[in-house]
Structure formats: C-alpha cells, structure tokens
Symmetry: D2
Subunit: 349 residues, 4 copies
C-alpha cells in the first residue's frame, strides 16, 4: 500500500512497447501505482527516462520517469507485478516471482496454456480466476492475458456461445503493426504492403479460445468443443486488429437477435464497476463501412470491442467484422482489467 492507499505495482519489461503502455495506462489509476520498473541488465541501474526509448503519444508520467530501473529478479517491493517480458525470458522469470509469493499478471504467452493458470478475459471467464487456488506457488500466483488477436474475437463470440451455442469459428485477421513490438516490422515491409504471415499467431487463435470459453470443473478447465480456423495477416495499421469472422451456431438466431445479445452483453467487470471496464464491452455498428481501426480502436478508452457488418453467409450461418485495440484491450489494458478483477474479488489481499 502506498501512502495514497493505492497498491504498489512493478512493471517487468518496463522499457519495451507493452511495458510503456502499462506505464501510460496506469497513470492516475485509482487502485494501482507504479512504484517500480524492472528491465534487462542493460537498463538496470539507469534512470527510467534515460533507459527507455519512450514512444507513447503522451509524456512519461513524472513519478515514473525518475524511478531507477531494477533487475527482473525477486527483491522487488511491490507484490503485484505486470509482466511485459519477452517470451524468451518470461517463462522462468515469472515462475520464479510466483514462487516467491508475487502476484504476476502477465501479457506473455509462456504460461497461458498451463493447466493451473487462468487465461483471463474478465468479461468472459471471470470464474477461471479460481484456478489460481490450484497453483502450487505457495501464496504467489500467475494470471495471464490472452493473445491480442484472441481477445477481441472471444469478446464478440462470448454472447453467441452463451445464447445460441457456438460450433465453428473461421477468422481472417488484418493485424496492426504495434502487435509486433518495437522496432518490430520494418517500414520497408509495411508501407504499401500486406504480410500474410505472423509467426505462431494462427496456432494461438486456434487454441486459446478453446480454453477461455471452456468450463472450470473440479479445478480444471475443460476446453470447449468448437472448431476454429485462423489466417493471420499484417497490414499497414498502427493500432487495432480487424478480423473477418464467420460462425456456425448450434441454434441459428436472426440477425436482430444476435445484435441484441451483443448490445446487451455486460459481465462481472461492469457489475463491479471496475475502472478499466468499458461501459459496453461490445459496440455494434449498423453502417456498412464500420468498424474501422483508425476511427474506433479507442472507443471507451480502447477497451470496447467493435463489431459490424453482420450478414448472411453462403457457407457459415453468419459473417461479421470485429475490431479491437491490440495494445490496450489486447495487451496492457486487458491485463490491468484482470488485476482490477483480482483486487475486487479479494485475490490481492
């Protein structure tokens, strides 16, 4: 606890693009205060403002700018850690922290599919948080945020699954460049171009939703039984993943019924009035040309998922377009919402 009554948090991987986004989004947060930043040995010991190549569009929060970067090793004073670590080191470091009693909310992929680790979208599977109780870390815990292209998709699918039963999901993505981190994709590969491949992304999109939409039974997640096929493309967009989606449902509703369940969809974060919870998790557009990443990625602070163009399909029951901010809802913002849920439900006490 800080003097202001807020919970101290540390950012692991604080100098990278997701780390910066955590720091930007947590400025002025009502629950959490960034009091420690940790990064690789190259940065450790430096003043944060000097260690970082800050490229957010708002200035570095002043109290963070002056922090000294620490090493990513137990010894941090904050008990709550947001991990923006690279996948090649995140696995071990996060586990090490958890074993020492830290709560790690991670945006990295390493522990997502671990049996006892919640893969959490607070509006979709808040009950999965209970998995934490099965973890063998002796007080510490790891909670993970799904892949950036998974989150928007599953938010749009959840009301369909609940109301009509989900059978098959076909998705083709047009993903933003920020998803590749910084420097990430070369400008020579992105301007006037599409790259029809993102390493490992299709597998994540085809497996993560099965766990997220699965049922918690006796301390285990039973994957949901749906077929998913994903094709992932990188396009010249800075932020915001657009997805062309097709679904088969167990019971075929009318278009109006689908739009109705999307518009009415609210869940635990809304009930708990969590700070980062969007008022409506799903925003449906009736205009043919919407949603568009540049216009709609920032809806409700970047936490709302936009959906549009619901229409009949010659092959599946329906097709539609989904848009979600990949570094806010799909990364740092989503992880913050997970931590807010943990706090609200007493997991951080």
């Amino acid at each position: 606890m800080t003097k202001t009554g807020k919970i101290n948090v540390a950012i692991l991987g604080a100098t990278g693009s997701v780390g910066q986004k955590f720091i930007q989004l947590l400025e002025g947060h009502p629950y959490f205060q960034v009091t420690e930043v940790a990064a690789s040995d190259r940065s450790a010991g430096k003043k944060y403002s000097e260690a970082v190549n800050w490229f957010m569009t708002t200035p570095i929060p002043k109290d963070v700018a002056n922090l000294t970067v620490k090493a990513c090793a137990p010894g941090l004073e904050s008990k709550l850690l947001f991990s923006a670590l690279d996948a090649n080191v995140a696995g071990e470091i996060e586990e090490e922290f958890a074993k020492k009693g830290y709560f790690v909310v991670s945006n990295s992929k390493n522990h997502r599919m671990d049996k006892d680790v919640p893969l959490l979208i607070p509006e979709v599977n808040p009950d999965h948080l209970e998995l934490v109780k099965c973890q063998k870390f002796g007080g510490g815990a790891i909670v993970t945020n799904p892949n950036c292209s998974t989150i928007g998709l599953v938010l749009a699918l959840k009301p369909l699954a609940d109301n009509f039963g989900l059978d098959t999901v076909n998705v083709v993505t047009m993903q933003a460049l920020s998803g590749a981190g910084y420097p990430g994709v070369s400008s020579l590969d992105s301007i006037d171009n599409v790259i029809p491949f993102i390493g490992g992304e299709e597998a994540k999109l085809e497996t993560e939703p099965l766990k997220i939409l699965g049922q918690l039974k006796n301390g285990f997640i039973e994957d949901t039984n749906i077929k998913i096929s994903a094709q992932t493309n990188r396009v010249a967009v800075l932020d915001g993943h657009t997805e062309s989606v097709q679904v088969n449902l167990k019971t075929k509703p009318t278009k109006e019924e689908i739009i109705e369940v999307w518009k009415n969809f609210k869940s635990e974060p809304q009930a708990l009035d969590l700070p980062f919870a969007p008022i409506n998790p799903i925003y449906y557009f009736h205009e043919d040309k919407y949603p568009q990443p540049r216009l709609h990625r920032n809806l409700d602070k970047g936490m709302a998922t936009s959906v549009g163009r619901l229409r009949d399909c010659n092959i599946f029951d329906y097709k539609f377009t989904v848009l979600s901010h990949n570094t806010v809802r799909g990364a740092a913002g989503g992880a913050i919402l997970c931590a807010e849920l943990m706090k609200a439900k007493g997991y951080l006490d």
Copy 2:
C-alpha cells in the same frame, strides 16, 4: 490496320485510371496500336495530354499524348474498343457500339453476367469466347473481363477444379486502393486504416466465378455448382489484391499434388504465345511470408498470380494466400489478353 500492320484500337473512358492503364500497357504492343481515345463530353475535343490527369509512373506515350479526345459514340474509326467506362454509363454505350459492329472488350461490370457475353479469363475459359457467336449485334461483339478480385482467385482455383473437383470456396480479401479508381479512396480513410466494406464487391466474387468456371453447352453457360462466400476489405496498399482463401475439394489431394498442378498450369494463352500471357500463370512461393503485394504484384509484367502458404485447415481441406495485380491482370492487362486471344483465334478478322 495501321501502316505498321497493327490493329487500330480506341480506348473508351481514356482519361480515367483504367483508361490510363490501357494506354500505358499498350505502348509498343505487337498487335494493337492506340489511335483513338474517347472520353466524356467534358474532355472531348481537347488534346489528350491536356484532358488527362495522368498519374501512371511512366510518361504518356508520345503518339497518344497528341491525340484529340473524341466522344464515346459510334463514329470511331477503330473497330476494336477497350472499354474503361464508368459502370453508370458503360452499359448503354458498349451496347450501342456493338450494335454498330464494333468489338468491345470491356472492363466494366455491366454486361458481365449477360447470358451471351463471355466473362473471360483466357487461361481459364478460352472456349467461352464462342458465346460471341450467339450475340445478336450483327457483327459487333461484347467480351468482358471479370472483376479485379475475381481474376486472381479463379486463376488459382482453376487447376484445383480441373484436377480435384472444387466444392466450396471461402475468401477474405485485402484489396488495393487503386481498385477504387481515382481519386477513389480519401487518404484520410486509408492511411493507418482498414475499410471492411467495398460496395458490390462481395456479390461479384460470389457469382462471377460460377460463370467463369461453368461449362459452355449448346450456346449457354451452365454455372458450376460450388458454394462461395466472400468478405472484402480495403487496405493501405496501392496495387495488388491479397486474398486469404479456403477450399473444399471433391477429392482431397496432398499439398505436394496441389503445388504440382499450380506449377504446371499452362493454358491456351501460353500455347498461343500471346504477348501478355505470363510464362506461368501461377507462381507458388514456399516462403511463409510470401506472397506480398509490394514485392510480387509485378511478377511477369503483373500478369502472373502469386500463391503461397498452402496449409491444412481445421474447417476446410486447405487454406492458402493468393495475390494478383488488380489493375494489370485484374483490369487493363487482363482485357488486353482477352483481345489477344480474340485476335489469335480469328475473332477480330
């Protein structure tokens, strides 16, 4: 016939983007010589170089620059016309010309689905050219080029249909801005953005292939019996439509067998050695990250279709990526190849 032994041709809609592309591509053509340019009343009477806002990346061919723009009405001296007219006027004008005995090779959509009008991809359905004999224009004829997003797709599908039987096609496009003409899409709508809607495009993609892959029987095309679903998106690419495609085949081949039939695919334009025929209509890439519009749209003068990422699919038999230059193979270049086929087969005599 010109003094050089070439066939005189006129371009209808010569000042628009497709009209300019015709003029650019026909420079130095071994069969055809642009000797007349026709456009709207606003341009008629002016010198072509003054009437046009030329934005091709090579200079206006000198002999065309000095032509006086004519009206789009019978009275043209050339018997062969390439039509790049706007759809809102093309229907009537093209018909009027055909009735007066002209051969119209059109890139406009108006007559594409007419029962007696060939919708021609010379490598795919060269035999459909015979439909012309059923036309009631008294010597004149209309031949059409399919939609820009259809051509690349159907070229990639044709060897599959021939060798394994085609059952279902699911396609999501990421289409180039040049497909919308000039000025077309505003820069404010395209930079850092995706537009998930292109008016009328999905219907074209879902119907044109049925006719193109259909069989000519007793003077009529019997549509092929396949299911197609299309989702079309506009992305920040100048030229080159990229398509994420999934197929079900009647007999499921191995990946190697599919790649084999793509690589070996040659057809009548190759046999006839037509000037605009690509050496190989389909170029298969084994690298995961290919094809890409900026790198590969100009393969074989922009007339080859690039294919890559053939892989298994959880829902369909296979999925893969197709790329094709939308204003060359998908518009002016494709129409020129149609005219070359007509010449080679004696339709222009």
Copy 3:
C-alpha cells in the same frame, strides 16, 4: 445563454471536416454550447447525424447528433458563430451575418487580410482584437483564425521577435493531409509520396505573419517588416504540420537564450486561464529526433506548439523544427481560443 449558463453557439459548415472538429472539441466546453448546426442546402433540414459523414475518432456528441441542420443564413438564434465554411462561400455569408449583429469567429481565409479584421493568435496578438471596434457592422463582428501552417510558425517566432528582433524567416513545410479537408487528397497521391505543392499556401505563409506580428496603431495594423520565404509540401501524415525553419535575428542570442525564451513564453490566454489555453504554448525538445507529428501533435490537448533541433546554420543565424496540430491549434481549437479570449475580455456581452 443556455439554461446551463453557457453561451449558445452555432457552427457554420457543420458537416465538413473543420465543422466536425469544432463540434468534437466543443463537447463539454465550459463557456460554449453547440445548439445550432448550419450547412449547405443539401444538408439543411436533415438530422445532423444523418447529414454528416462523421469521421472524428470519438462519437458524435449526443445533443448535437439530434439537431436539425439549418441553412447558413441569418435567422440563427445563437449570436456567436464558428465558421468552418468553404472559402468559396465564406466571404459573403460571414459578412451578411456580421451585418445582422452576429459575432463570427472564422477559420476561413476570406476576411483574414481585411484591414479591420483581427487575424488572431491569442498568445501572439491579443491586442489586435480591438480592431473589432473599427468594424462597420453595427454590433456584429468578424474575427479570423490564421492559416493552419501559419499558427505554429508564428507561435514559435513570437518570443524571438519580442526578445531578439526578427529579421528574416525561411520555412519549408511538411503538411498533414487533414489540412486539405475531406475527402481532400486521394490515397493514390499520398501513400509512398510527397506532393511539393499546396495551392495558395505559400502566399499565406509569406503574408499572414506580417499582419499578426504587426503593431496596432490608431486603429490600423502596421505590418511588421520582415522577409519571409515559404515552400510548402504535402506528406503522408494524417494530422500535424512539421516545419523546417531558419531565422535571422536583429541581435543574435545564444542557443540557450532562445530555448529559455521559448520555455518561459506565456501570454494573455495563460494569464486569463482560458479553457483551451495550453499551459505552455511552446514545448522545446532536446532530443535530436523530436518533435514528430505522431508523437507530439496532441501535446496539451493539441494546443501546444512543439519545437526542437535548434542549431547553428551556415546561412541564417539559426535553424530549428516546429510542429503544430493543424486541425486543433491550426483550425478549430485555435478559433475556440479566440472566442474564449473574446468572452474573457467582454467582447461577447
């Protein structure tokens, strides 16, 4: 006055891009409430949300969405009008309103150089507002906002002029696409391109600063006596004009002295604590690679001017880079600040 104690305002040209920006920025404004929207006859009579092709990145404010669009002719109930009219109609319409007693704060170029019309940057020449008293409109008034590329430049020049005396200004701009309105520049002209020409822009940049930096004497502005040369280019940036600037000063200061006067620059809007006044009108960056439009255009709600790279020059005394948000500080936001100044100084009573 509204029931909330705010001043009712009408937006002229409310459906265009600047009109939309006014509406977006005025949402929740402490002084002003948009209660009327007016546009061309084509839109008049329609509900605003149906008349407009809204492309701001936040939703249409609800109370404005439901307004009925009115004609741009006297009869409006609001006495304060923000004009976002096209230059080809603005001249007459604005004058007509002023003659009927309205206060017109205009972003259009038509009356900018009129002898009795203030060309106002509230931090630079707030005293010029007095010119209004010389206007012969019988109670009404016209106040104008300078050109978008002028404002950022003159804000950066003002402390130099005041402290060291300004002699010569050489400027080359790299201007954003939004400056051309909507649809404005075609995507085919902007992606992977620079357009080295913007009609009329260089003349504005070479003349407007002379008036703005001029002295009000006996009811007239005496233009300042400096030489300006401008070259204007359009680049592939959505918002934010970047300018490479060189100056000769009457007394050559050190770099540190210049940075000092920039950092310390505050003026009447800051003293009056006007709602749209940036805390610091000028933000100086010490990093070589800054300022950049994407990172810094939104500093202080888009109202701050960013400056960087101050360095010696082989030809002039100094050179540096200026960045300013062209549709906020350079258009709607700048005009709103003018109206705020008018209110604070009793001109709207």
Copy 4:
C-alpha cells in the same frame, strides 16, 4: 573477363539492401557480370539465395542465386568490386582490397572525403577520376559515390554553377525510408509521421558538394567556395528523396534561362553513351504539383533527376524542388555509372 567478354565483378556487402540493389541492377548489364558475392562471416559459405533476405521487387537473378557467398577479404577473383559495405567496416576492408590491386567502387561514406579519392558523379566531375592516379595503392584504386541526398542536388546545381555561378544553397530534404537500409526505420516511426533528423546527413550535404563541384588542380581538389545549409527529414516514402532547394547565383538569370540550361544539360556519360547514363540527366516539370517521388523516381531507369516548381524567392534568387531515386541514382545505379565511366576511359584495363 568472362566467357561472354564481360568484366567479372564482385559485390561486397551483397546481402544488404544496397548489395541487393547492385545485383538487381547489374542483371544483364552489357559490361559487367556479377560472378562473386561477398558478405559478413555470418553469411560466408552459404548459397546466396539462402543467405539473403531478398526484398527487391524482381526475383534474384538465377546465376547469382546459386553463387556461394565469400568472405570480404582479398582472394576474390574479380578485379572490380562494388562495395555496399556498412560504414563501420567499409573503411579498412576497402583499403585492404585497394592495396592488393583491386578497383573498389564504393557507396560507403568512409573514403569519400579522402584527398586522393574521387567523389564522383559522372555527369558533374568526370575529370576527378584522374585523382585515382595519385592514389598510393600500387595499381588498385578506390572511387566513391556521394551520399544519396547529395547526388540529385548536385546534378541540379551543376548547370547553374557552370552557367551562372553558384553562391549559396539552402536545402531541406524529405528523404525516403530505403535510405536507412533494411530493416532501417521501424514502421511505428514512419507511418503517419515525419522524423526531423537523420544522423550525419546534414553534414554530408553541407560538405560533399563542395568537393564534387571543386576543381582538380595539380592532383588536388580545391573545394568550391559556396555556402550550403541543409535540414534533413525522413518521410513515409519508400524510394525517392525530395528536396526543397533555394539558391543565390553570381549572375541572376531569368527563369527561362535556368530551365533552358537544365533541359540542355548533357555530359560525358551521355557523350560516351554509357549504359546507365540517362538520356537527359535533368528532367524539368512545368506542372506545379510535380515532381513527386512515386510518379517520377523511376524516370529513365531511376537515373534521371527531376526538377520542378522553379519560382522567385523573397530571400534567395530562386527556389525549386528536386527529386532523385536514392537507391538507384543515389546509390547502386550511381556507382555502376562510375564504373562504366572508368571502363570507357580505360581505368579498368
């Protein structure tokens, strides 16, 4: 000599972006044949097609694809080397080769300002090639190609210097991303952005022209006596540097006289009919909106410099816009033209 009578050449730094450009441009060259490719130890020993991340828009020439990459150390069989080495290693390696008797034509900056090394633009200072005779390499030689932003500028200045006397040059550049190599600039830094800084670039632009336009006297170059100031910016353009230029001339000509000397400018490469020599080194556009990088960078195979917008200036005598292809004329193509000149003048015998 190859069997085909061509001169064998090796490319140093063959896997980088400039190295690839050399290989692309030399395909089918009438004088030179790429028979060796050399690169860093990481690539040495591999097949070229496997060592390289080829991103040119035409396929790897077949005979080069199969070459085995060699180390960048003497032992190469070709006597003529094109160096596309990184500046951090080029200095020593090039010198080592020259000492062993090789002819090195380099695009790297390291030896450009060496007193006995020609900094060559074949149309501008072909006589400087004689400097080679002063080199102390015992048979070998180093010839350098200027910086990419220098070449287009100096080509446009040369006829002015010759005809009217050059006094002062002020230049602001808008440079293409390919100038930074590959991967070079991150897409997150380039889309919707301008970077007002390119490390070391302004110094090159302010010094290289002095040497190039200097006079060879008694085996030394006497720098020309002009004042140059440069401001360099990176914009979202793939290829083609655009420059806003201002000049003071010793004798002020009319606009028509300047356009005349630009249009008539021809030099030794044109007289010798060298393969890469553009027919006209300078192409003047009368349309206000030209030249533009996307439209005109490839004029005359990318070797012509485009100029436009010549107009009066309030500060200098004249201002105008220059455009030149930075990786063709400004790098690999320019270096090839240097080598062609060397061959034509007997320097490679």
